[in-house]
Amino acid sequence: MNFSEAANTGYFFGLVPLLVFLPLTGMLINMIFGGKMSEKAVGTVASVASGLAFVVAVLLAYSLSATHGHMQTVHFAEWIHIGDLKLDWTFRVDTLSSVMMLVVSGVGTLIHIYAIGYMHEDVRFKDDIKRFRRFFVFLNLFIAMMMILVSGDSYLMLFVGWEGVGLCSFLLIGFWYDFDTLGQKSTANAEAGKKAFIANRVGDFGFLLAIFTTFWHFGSLQFDKVFEAASAHPDPVVISAITLFMLIGVTGKSAQVPLYVWLPDAMAGPTPVSALIHAATMVTAGVYLVVRSAPLYSLVHGASYIVAMIGAVTALFAATIAVGQYDIKKVLAYSTISQLGFMVAAVGMGAYVAGIFHLATHAFFKALLFLSAGSIILGMERGHHAHAHHDEDHGDGHAHVEHHEEEVFDPGDMRNMGNLRKRMPVTFWLYMAGTLALAGLPPFAGFWSKDEILLDAKLHAEHFPGVYLLLSIAAFMTAFYMGRQIWMVFFGKERTEVAEHAQESPPVMTVPLMILAVLAVFGGALNLPFEGFHNLGHWLEYTIGHVEGLPLDLGVAGISTVLALLAIFFSWLLYGKNPLKAGQADPLKKPLGFLFTGMENKWFVDEGYKAVIIDPFVKLAKFLSINLDWNFWHDWFHESVIYAGFKGLARFLSEPIDMGIINAIADKLAEMTKRSSEGLSRLQNGFVRSYALSVLLGVVAILGYLLFK
């Protein structure tokens, strides 16, 4: 349906382009007028822009439910039409994209509001107040790009959003591009942004190949046409190629093995960015892509199993690393990779509802956790500054200022924290809600969604062997590393003076968190495993076909609950019963030995990539540019062989005649040009003359031959 038709349906489908244009408007307003606006105004414009997009998403969801979930497309403009290639800017509203729209704009808006408070302080700690506006410009751009991603009706439009969010991720990771994560002058944050962009480009490379294959075999990139053609001619080789190429893209965007390495570094971005982009929304795009392509994946079991295994392996692998981290955001980052692994495993097994369900609940509780972690970090920063000022007031201020500048304090290191529940009680309870949801304890949201994935893995164990086991171990470790974090951050004794001075965050930050906490607690209601409560399942059925609503399996749920409780108990034994003291090594270090060293050091994967890919690439680049291209090709071959040889030949040919007639002409010419240009005379090195002569001779000879042959 085209735009005007859409507007006349009596429903709100025609509004769908606004999902993109509202955030873009917010962005432009802040870009153009933001310089003269107050921080509050800038933040409000951006939040309202995102909030209105949420309203549109709600209206679209309402329209869908009122029309029995019937998918609608809205044609906006033509894009690229060449031969059979017909690509348009066409939006698609169906129950799947609708879920994504709601999650993105809903969580996105809460994070916009939170960021008003967060960035207000962050720009002051970094001493660059002007940069406040830029943050919201990027954030609005991100929402717009994410909306293109989830609402596009073709693989290419999805790809536009896909790369667009990658750009925003790059810009926001490197938001403090002149610092490192500790606030020291450095290129580290910029490097982290670049790393993210490049890792994602590797994934995009795979996605592009998938697009090419799809087009040449199925004649279109528009979803329904592709699926129709694929089911009409289900060539397993072609479809396996497409789905596996796509998987490369998924591993890039959704941070799966082996391309996940960018996501931990992405924590260099301000915390709202970590929450919004690198936990709740952008990184789930890969999961969305697989669900969107369900009709393709369901045709090839082999490729699907690879997807499921990649997810399961990632889930466990990242969980082991999370256990060995000390930075509060790094733990959450690896946790995110691990949870994305759960989702990818789910959708790989064809458990699309479970995957999307977990995507939604994870967006709630992980955004909550990240933002609370941001609140903790700022609380520590406040403590740090209050502590420093406190010293200044009471002593030799000058000496202390210097001391303060030299001292590098890491406000995100859990070893610097301890007993924060006393100083930041609101944040503590919010964090607890998120933790229990992530650990998968009933009745919190994460329990229901994770359990559905585990149940699916159990039921499909015959076709997808190993997935259930890997995911169960990962689930155990999830509860363990979260328990470890809780004890280290909130309990025990303060391990630094800064922790003693930590301060609670203002309501502009905590109120959005409370909303997220409510969702983290009750979000499971989206799809409860009881007859009549499979809401999300029924909603998605309109798009992905019939879904069997699974009942609660007490065995699976029981095992996972017991595992989670056990893990939390172990974490209490290690970190809660005997709290970590300042300077004390991690209690796991001794019993686990080299295993823990591996976890602490992320299994040396970054080092491996450096040795195997990056260093050889740089060496190759150096060899090609310096040795081959310049020294050999440019200098030696062209100077010594061609140039010198030609010069000799030209001299030999021209010398006799050159002395005679031509010389006179050339001199005359030289004289003429000399008058108009002094620089020209410098070109009169005899060489050009000889050359011009030889050209002339050649032409004359050829012409002569042709004329008189």
Binding site: D178, K194, L208, L624, H634, G679, L683, V699, L706
Partner: protein
Amino acid sequence: MDFALLPNLVTFFPLVGVLILFFIKAENKVLIRWVSLLTALATFGISLVLLQQFDANNPALQMVTNLPWINVADWNISYYIGVDGLSILLILLTTFLTPIALLSTWSAIEEREKDFNIFFLMLEVGMLGVFMAQDLFLFYVFWEFTLVPMYFLIGIWGGPQRIYASIKFFLYTMAGSLLMLLAILWLGINQGTFAVPDLIALGGIPAGIQTWLFLAFAIAFAIKVPMWPLHSWLPDAHVQAPTAGSVILAGVLLKMGTYGFVRFNLPLFPEAAVKFAPMMATLAVIGIIYGAIVSYYQKDIKKLVAYSSISHLGFVMLGLFALNSQGIQGGILQMINHGLSTGALFLLVGMIYEQTHTRDFEVYGGLWKIMPVYGTVMLIVTLSSMGLPGLNGFVGEFTILLGAWGAGMPGEVLGSYWYAGLSAIGVILAAIYMLYMYQKIFLGPEGSIVESLKAKGHPLRDLSVREIITIVPLLVFIFWIGLYPKPFFALIAPTVDNLVKVLQAAMMH
């Protein structure tokens, strides 16, 4: 009014400015600047009328002027010019970039401005002539003619090694075009006409001879593009040329090479084109990867951009030799895209160079904070050059790669997916070297140049109004082509479709 006059008017209008400039005293710099800028703008205006009169649905040559010119010894050389879908966009690109480049010289060129502007307008005549000419001999005359002003632009207003660079530039192009001249003469004499449309209609060149003619043309054009491994002149020419020279060199002059392929090699020697397609595509792929990797290891900003051109033009060549509509249309559009984004890159590099007088990456860093407008503009252009969807570069690269993938299917002209597959790696590499460049200049802590300029009393300033005016038109097209390329494709599609039919017939042989 007879619109057939329009192409003539566009081509030679810059000479009006040249004529006026002759009568202006060299000291009267302001007047000189305005006269040449207004001339270039007027030429652009006339070319817009040309566009308006151009019938996009007509695949044939339009607004033709065909007059007998040289008729010695039965040589039917004619003054034959016209416009079709292959050339219309390049003509507009030329008239569009020339005033922009001229505007950029207002602060960059301080010596002998009169001569500079005269050469520049003469260069424009040459370039337009190349794109308009439909007679091989006339084409050759224009082709060689462009060398002369460019030679002086580099040789007089260039960097420290300008003499060396300008001679090299001259020699390489000249050496290549000699073979082309031979081929032109053979064609004209044996077929009895130099008119390209007539030659295509005549056809009937034996396959064996097509091979030789194809190669003779191909070498001339490949040097100009430049295709790997004939690129050695490019870094010298670009690094030494003044900013405006680099803009035109990258923006238009290199396109004369790619244009030559699509205007002459493909339609005149279709059988040979089919035969050589895998070889040309191989060179293109090597160029894409090689240019990209070598770019990454440059210490000089201009050199990086120069090498990146080798990679980008590799994409164009790959598209052209996919020999299908997606590839060729993408290739032609990518010529425009490269002109816009690389032109913009050279302009931007020139703008910072005027303030810092160095192009060494090591002294830069953190400029985004000091020059937010400059940083943002450069970011957009960088992303355009990297092929970010929504900007112009993507539309070209995507259609080219899609076309090459299709040409790689079993039984098609390239017959292997490796061409497109390897080239797509170039997309990853582009991110690596472009982001490297962006980071070195704009991100990280402030580089040493910031302090040293402050100490000298010339702290870095953001873009001036004139500089913004220079760059904004380019940005408009970067977004326009990226988001809504329909009108651009519409101009080239009918002519390309015709060409593809010819090529498909050749494939059947």
